[in-house]
């Protein structure tokens, strides 16, 4: 009985310790959806208004107000990728959560924010953290390299948010290469549009295929399904090596194993 109690107690302790270890993980993961670069900060950080930003139609084009004195100004802010603008939520200056605000709404929202002069209420974000986040905004032209350099620096620790964002960048880079350069979907079959194939492959640290790619259920496939799988496997092979994508070495564990879902339904009716 005593033993049972001890075991039970220990198990509970282990569970609690595990929970304590895991909770920050979950916390960051959950937050990561909304902790994306606040758009409004672009207004006071003059140096961030690069040509790329200026080209975007919905960004506030008026002369920016003089920047407030904040530590954040010390941070050199690379331009945020235009793609992300559409999903940018409001920053911590805004008290209420405004996750889903669209770029088109920014004009109306932005002046309101710039007029705010009241001291901000305490927030779970601080400006250092925003600066840190902003620093992680990759340049449009060389996403992976930018991320890789930053990761390499000793000053900044990769957070789970970084990991997520980087994984997204890696995914986008692989997707773009396969879609633009390598996948030639078979269009001849009557049911060509419905032939979905799932391919798994492993990469070496140099970006080469570590072993031949595998399509799910390939051995049981026949006819047009096999042809579709062949085209997917060809795409993976043809795109190799993936070294030109400059996948960050530090994150090798994240891109060592890749699964591609080939779905031609959108392009072949």
């Amino acid at each position: 009985m005593k033993n049972a109690l001890t075991i039970s107690g220990l198990f509970h302790v282990v569970l609690l310790v595990t929970a304590a270890m895991e909770i920050p993980w979950f916390d960051s993961v959950e937050n990561s959806e909304m902790v994306i670069i606040p758009v409004e900060i672009l207004q006071f950080a003059k140096e961030t208004r690069t040509k790329e930003i200026a080209k975007l139609p919905n960004i506030e084009r008026e002369k920016p107000k003089p920047p407030e004195k904040r530590p954040i100004r010390q941070a050199k802010l690379p331009p945020p990728p235009p793609k992300m603008l559409s999903t940018m939520p409001l920053p911590n200056q805004v008290q209420r959560p405004t996750k889903n605000i669209k770029v088109a709404d920014l004009r109306s929202v932005a002046p309101e924010i710039s007029q705010r002069e009241k001291p901000k209420p305490p927030s779970r974000y601080n400006s250092d953290r925003i600066a840190q986040l902003l620093n992680k905004v990759p340049k449009k032209e060389n996403v992976i390299e930018q991320l890789s350099d930053r990761l390499g620096s000793q000053e900044q620790q990769a957070t789970s948010l970084d990991v997520r964002r980087q994984v997204m960048s890696i995914s986008t880079a692989i997707q773009k290469k396969i879609e633009d350069q390598c996948w030639n979907p078979p269009s001849g079959a009557l049911d060509a549009g419905s032939l979905k194939v799932r391919v798994k492959f492993y990469l070496t640290q140099e970006g080469k295929l570590a072993r031949p790619p595998i399509a799910d259920d390939y051995v049981r496939m026949a006819g047009s399904m096999k042809v579709a799988a062949d085209s997917a496997l060809r795409a993976v092979r043809m795109c190799a090596p993936y070294s030109d994508l400059k996948l960050p070495q530090e994150m090798y564990d994240q891109w060592r194993e890749v699964i591609l879902n080939f779905d031609p339904s959108g392009m072949i009716g």
């Binding site: 060509a192 795409a235 564990d253 699964i259 879902n261 959108g266 072949i268």
Partner: protein
Amino acid sequence: MNLLKFLILSFLGVMFISLPAQAVIEIDITRGNVQPLPIAITPLIGDSEALTKVGSVLQIGEKIAQVVTADLERSGLFSAIDPGAFINTDNTSSAPQFSNWRAVGAQALLTGGAVLEGDGRVRVEFRLWDVLAGSQMIGLRLFTAPSNWRRIAHLISDAIYKRLTGEDGYFDTRIVYISESGPYLDRIKQLAIMDQDGYNHEFLTDGSYMVLNPRFSPTSQEITYLSYYNDTPRVYLFDIETGKREMLGEFEGMTFAPRFSPDGKKVIMSKAERGNSDIFVMELATRHVQQLTTHSAIDTSPSYAPEGDYVTFNSDRGGSQQLYVMNSDGNNIKRISFGTGIYATPVWSPRGDLIAFTKQTGGKFYIGVMRPDGTGERILTESFFEEGPTWSPNGRVLMYYRKYPYDNRGGGGDTQLWSVDLTGYNERQIITPLDGSDPAWSPLLD
């Protein structure tokens, strides 16, 4: 207590092992570039000393490679790599040096050889390789008389096509068509047959009487056609293999536009009588005739669906000539074409998904396709005059004929056979000795 320690340590061990370890990136690929597949076709190796009536075995091997190249390129789905770019032609039965073929951009590779057998036949072996995977996709051995080398080439093309597209090929097929010659008012129209690439051309009639509307049986090497033999238009049945010809019976009035049922046992046609035309079907075995439509409008050009359960035809019962679909017993007639202009010559695809048609609007003619319910109309080609589409047996390519206008000096008026695939981009002329019209595509040869 040791047990307790063991349990705790095991539990902790399991905990750590089960912590999130390595992530897997999962990506959806939803776009690609539909392009011709680059294929390297090496000449089949053979003995230059082994002579046949049609040249040495080496020459036969080279010619086979040329025909395969032409077949695949004409399909629009493959681009053959210029043999001049080949780094080497290590054409043996062992695995090729794939890196050399990768270097020239090949994704598929054909290698093989030909050998003269003791009985005078030629043995052709070939292999299709996946260059990127470094593996064999097909390996086949074929025997034939040396003079039949073209069919070997077409069979190889069909095998490659099927393995790389998932669809049956259409290269080992033939075309019957109406060969035309002479002046506009005194046109000589003969029945002619050729391979789908225009080779092995033969005339089946001598031109002393007019022949129209040849149609292949979907199941055998038989054709029906409309002949004005003895100045009386009648539907005939002609067996290409035996040369046997028979009339499908005496009909009152004029019969035309005959077409086989998918099982080859019936012929559906239209019959004109006193200014009206309706659709009839005849059982070939019993010669029993059944009338399917009884409308006062002109119903013509019937064509069966591949399952034989429906028939499409054109009719002016709605005021203008449009396409209709009905059950094969003549019931449940529904109009399916509603676009501007008039529609004619509907032909159901052998794979059932589409109906091809000729459309006339705005002073031009068009070949197009639509789904059997009338949706998804798509125009594939247009010109001054074109009509009479016929499907390749795999339902991917249409052949039709195109007529050019006469000029002021009595020239022009050329009539040519053309083919187009379902993308509408791969349009090609089929060269015939004389002018050609009204083509009909055979099923795959046995």
